[in-house]
């Protein structure tokens, strides 16, 4: 098992290096425009451009540039400097990270807490009215675009513009340490909206997985042992059914940590997604590059976590 884990981590590290290199290629070599000009964004004063060029070491040979880039990245965590925003990319990202983390973790908890039980009940009462309603609702929520749902929800419940003024409106996000109460209340609507689509997906996944698992021979053995049906379903059925779901979960979380741009925009939450979006509209390449690398990091880590979790959950996988 340890060999398995070590192998996965090493491959992950290799992958991260490859992605960084690829990012370097994309952001420094491919743009036909002058990278320094791109870095400068809309600030096109020639003096600044020359400064940037020197700062980026664009006058040096390509390989040296690559080496400096990798060294800076891996040894100093230097993600570059945004001339447009006038701050280091790292600091900007770290400013925005807590919001994205709060949003992701909160909605993950909610979507699992809602989606999985619904999926289980649906699987056990296949083709009943409960099942059909649940899966129909799931289809609805999967199809509904998040931003649309977000706007509807704000329209209905936001304190400033809503019909029933329950929750704080868009833009009221406050940091967890700064104002805990506001932090929670401002996130409730975004959490629910983000969770809605995922809960629906996971309900369907759980339903399918459990239906398959409940047909297995070991379920028959569990019943033949005289176990109460609840134990059969949960400890035997769900236990086996949940493995593929948890692995997908890790991947979904990994992707979300790279920024849920639609939710963040609708609810005006200062997260990584918004950061990225703003950077794109301003052609602020250092930030874009930084967020891309960050997203890649989260996804690679999530993938490694998935592989390890799977081996932990399913003992048959450990011998590879």
């Amino acid at each position: 098992m340890t060999g398995y884990v070590v192998r996965r981590v090493l491959w992950g590290a290799l992958l991260l290096i490859l992605v960084s290199a690829l990012t370097f290629v994309l952001f420094r070599i491919l743009p036909t425009a002058d990278p320094a000009r791109l870095r400068a964004g809309h600030n096109t004063s020639p003096k600044v451009i020359a400064e940037i060029r020197a700062g980026l070491g664009l006058n040096k040979p390509l390989l040296t540039q690559f080496w400096l880039y990798m060294k800076g990245l891996f040894l100093h965590g230097d993600l570059g400097y945004s001339y447009y925003s006038g701050a280091s990319v790292k600091s900007l990202i770290f400013d925005r990270l807590p919001a994205t983390l709060s949003l992701t973790v909160g909605s993950a908890v909610i979507w699992m807490a809602i989606g999985l039980p619904i999926g289980i009940v649906s699987a056990l009462r296949r083709r009943s009215r409960t099942d059909r309603t649940a899966m129909g609702a799931a289809l609805l929520f999967i199809s509904a675009p998040e931003y649309w749902l977000g706007l509807i929800v704000l329209y209905l419940f936001a304190a400033d513009i809503g019909q029933i003024k329950v929750f704080p409106g868009a833009g009221s996000y406050a940091g967890m340490t700064a104002d805990p109460q506001k932090w929670v209340t401002s996130l409730i609507l975004p959490w629910l909206v983000l969770a809605a689509g995922f809960a629906a997906v996971y309900a369907r996944l759980m339903r399918g997985s459990l239906i398959e698992t409940m047909g297995a021979d070991y379920i028959r053995t569990a019943r033949a042992k005289g176990l109460p049906e609840r134990q059969v379903v949960l400890r035997h059925g769900v236990r086996a059914a949940i493995t593929p779901i948890l692995t997908i979960f890790a991947l979904d979380v990994g992707v979300l940590l790279g920024g849920a741009v639609l939710i963040e925009t609708v609810f005006d939450i200062p997260g990584i997604g918004r950061l990225n979006y703003d950077a794109i509209t301003h052609a602020d390449f250092p930030i874009i590059q930084g967020t891309v690398l960050l997203a890649a990091l989260f996804i690679i880590v999530a993938n490694i976590a998935v592989d390890i979790a799977y081996a932990y959950l399913d003992p048959r996988v450990r011998y590879s």
């Binding site: 060999g3 070590v6 192998r7 090493l10």
Partner: protein, 276 residues
């Protein structure tokens, strides 16, 4: 080739499947010795049985002879020719003479193709019977030979029972008129009352077409019924080769005796079937 020479000769045949360990670069730390040095001859016209339990290497041996696997070492000679080192295109002519029938009638036929096209496929690949009409006739003849209705050539495998599917597999194997038929557990997946039908068919075909057969099975009773000479395999090695009578009446190897003793109730079934 004189009639005294074996049609198939296997010498020091070895097949190892490697086990790799290691964190980043996978090193070979050992091997599963599936077939660990076996030797036997199969004479023309005889049915040669290979019997053993799971892990004995009998299925691997079947695949090695049929050249579906490459041997790690050793030699396979077919009709006087060394076919061990042949690969790809050079194996093609050999395949016309050496065919295989597989165990599972449910997975060895492509469910998306009609039975007719399954049986015709070898003819197409080896470009026998250039025109379609002649091919169709050949296919219908083959289906009749194995006891199926030739008008059913447009049906799909799932429309047939297990025993019938196995007959399709046999028809496919016979399409090119092979000299040697390798049957890997051909009746193990079938119901008892159907097994007899397929076994009878194989014996009948062998007599009519002058086939030589290598018959692999874990079932000692079936092998006794079908085979002239039998090799008993255990852990990748052949522990005994004997004629049918010798093996069952006077087995020499302790493992063979253990196998025979383990067959449940066989002797008693016979004992009792003689009316009191």
């Amino acid at each position: 080739m004189s009639s005294g020479e074996p049609l198939l000769r296997v010498k020091d045949l070895v097949k190892h499947f490697s086990i790799d360990r290691g964190v980043m670069l996978r090193r070979n730390v050992g091997a599963v010795r599936a077939v660990d040095g076996i030797e036997f001859d199969v004479m023309r016209g005889e049915t040669f049985g290979i019997v053993g339990e799971s892990g004995s290497g009998k299925s691997t041996t079947a695949r090695l002879i049929a050249r579906l696997l490459d041997p790690t070492a050793g030699e396979v000679r077919f009709a006087g020719r060394d076919i061990t080192a042949l690969r790809g295109e050079s194996l093609k002519p050999v395949r016309r003479e050496l065919q295989m029938v597989f165990q599972d009638p449910y997975s060895s036929l492509n469910p998306r193709r009609t039975v007719g096209s399954i049986v015709a496929e070898p003819l197409v690949i080896h470009r026998v019977q250039a025109d379609r009409a002649a091919r169709k006739r050949a296919v219908q003849e083959l289906l009749e030979t194995v006891g199926l209705n030739p008008e059913h050539c447009n049906r799909y495998p799932h429309e047939f029972s297990g025993g019938q599917r196995q007959r399709v597999g046999i028809a496919r194997a016979l399409a090119l008129g092979p000299k040697l038929l390798i049957a890997d557990e051909p009746v193990s997946a079938l119901d008892v009352s159907i097994q007899a039908q397929v076994l009878n068919l194989l014996r009948d075909l062998q007599r009519r077409l002058g086939l030589t057969m290598v018959f692999i099975s874990h079932d000692l009773s079936v092998v006794r019924h079908m085979c002239d000479r039998i090799a008993v395999m255990h852990d990748g090695r052949i522990v005994e080769v004997a004629s049918n009578e010798a093996l069952y009446d006077a087995p020499r190897d302790p493992y063979t005796r253990e196998l025979l003793a383990a067959v449940p109730g066989a002797r008693r079934v016979r004992e009792r079937t003689i009316p009191a």
